[in-house]
Symmetry: D2
């Protein structure tokens, strides 16, 4: 965050203006009664299914509707992290926000933040490796995929 006496370099300023505003994919994720476990809250493993569903709504459906359908290829989840803050309750709207924290040559990291009644309930990340549809082998991200993900790249330090 620029402090009062920060001297912004003009060209950088212009670049920031030209860069599309930082985006996040947002969805209200429907819960099911059966997502609850015997303890009466949405089960911690089922939350990983909700993360998967939000990611698919974004990359397999929304991106495809926006003209990029190559993310519909199979994608391997290479790594998963979830921090659980509060119990998730059935019967209350669950809002999920997704963006990316890293775009590599052959993988990228999707970040998830979830809220009920405006309170954060969990956050997490998954490292995804897209596969070549024919060979099922890991492949590089295309230029179009890179361009699609860029506006969603969280720039923590800026």
């Amino acid at each position: 965050m620029p402090r009062e006496n920060t001297k912004v370099v003009p060209s950088a300023s212009r670049a920031a203006e030209n860069r599309p505003a930082r985006q996040r994919f947002e969805c209200a994720m429907p819960l099911r009664w059966s997502d609850q476990d015997v303890n009466g809250h949405i089960n911690n493993a089922r939350i990983v299914t909700l993360m998967e569903e939000a990611r698919i709504l974004w990359l397999n459906q929304t991106a495809a509707a926006e003209g990029l359908d190559s993310f519909r290829c199979p994608k391997v989840v290479a790594s998963l992290n979830v921090e659980y803050f509060r119990p998730v309750s059935y019967g209350r709207e669950l809002i999920m926000l997704l963006d990316v924290s890293r775009v590599g040559s052959g993988s990228f990291t999707v970040r998830y933040a979830a809220f009920q009644s405006d309170a954060p309930v969990f956050s997490g990340s998954t490292v995804l490796v897209p596969l070549d549809a024919a060979s099922n082998a890991p492949r590089k991200l295309s230029a179009a995929e890179n361009a699609y993900l860029l506006p969603y790249l969280a720039a923590e330090a800026s």
Copy 2:
């Protein structure tokens, strides 16, 4: 692994002899055809369910059979990490090994390692917070629980 010319310090050697052998809870985890997703492998979120089931077989059933039933209390999963190495296939035995990497005053961390045909397929960890059965509030680990977990504590550096 001690090399031929390793000189073992006697006192350390004796301490190691006195310390209970390092234990791991081991189980063969039954898979279900429906654990597979449309890509033909065990789904990454379902793997979290398998971790949950192995943990419950250990702490809610085996520990109880060994005389410690206080772990049957509800336990919150505060944090989850999984590294996926290879696809997990239905129809092949899945061996899981569990131990602990940390025992705190009010939480502990269970580690998981899973193998098919002797090859590692995934590993992970969960931070668990036991709750008081009456108040549902986080509680401290009891002395009996600490004593139970100690032999399972991985001592990487020793």
Copy 3:
């Protein structure tokens, strides 16, 4: 179905006019990518979960919003029947219509009809036995519950 020479008794006619139009609970049921099995369609057992979710949206949520919350008690499923007509596909809207085919003193039968792209995909029924919340024993339907279900009672023969 009245035949040509049927003479409709005026009072009966008036009763039919006064009777609330036959109702069905309708919802669009969100599907999840993970509802698919390895054969690429929504799994047949998962369809039973969708029936459960539609029933809960109706009896535990909609009925409660309309002032009747006694159906939120635990309910045992005593019997289940499903006829599968066509594969259910992820990515297409699934419309479900629910009504009742029988209201007994201590149980009732919910019927389900489901459609994708206007084509029937499955239908089914479940016999439900409401339990007393305190004793967990089967209980009789209350007068309010009977009155709530009556407009949803399919009158095939009338």
Copy 4:
């Protein structure tokens, strides 16, 4: 069960001797903690998954090990029926017995009976339609498939 004074008709006796002993596929089905719903019992929809798993253990694995692997083809579930007798509890062994009640030219009906502590907990049936692996169209049962199923055909009336 023949009582002491039962007089067995010789010809019937001989027919029974020649007929292969009536078989049932039996398995102990592992349950998972997460199969329980918020009411504390194995969920009624999950029981359909257990029926599916038992059927696959029989027809896709046991039959294949016995030399008949054509049942590994995709099979459509055309119809499902379940009668729930008692709650199924996690932590107690669930025994399932499967046989067939009907073998048609292009479909057959598998029957399921399940027990905990020797008490029947649910029973059910599924109509299965095998598909041609190449065309994905319904196909006729082969002579080998008919021969495999015959000893499992329940002969209620005999």
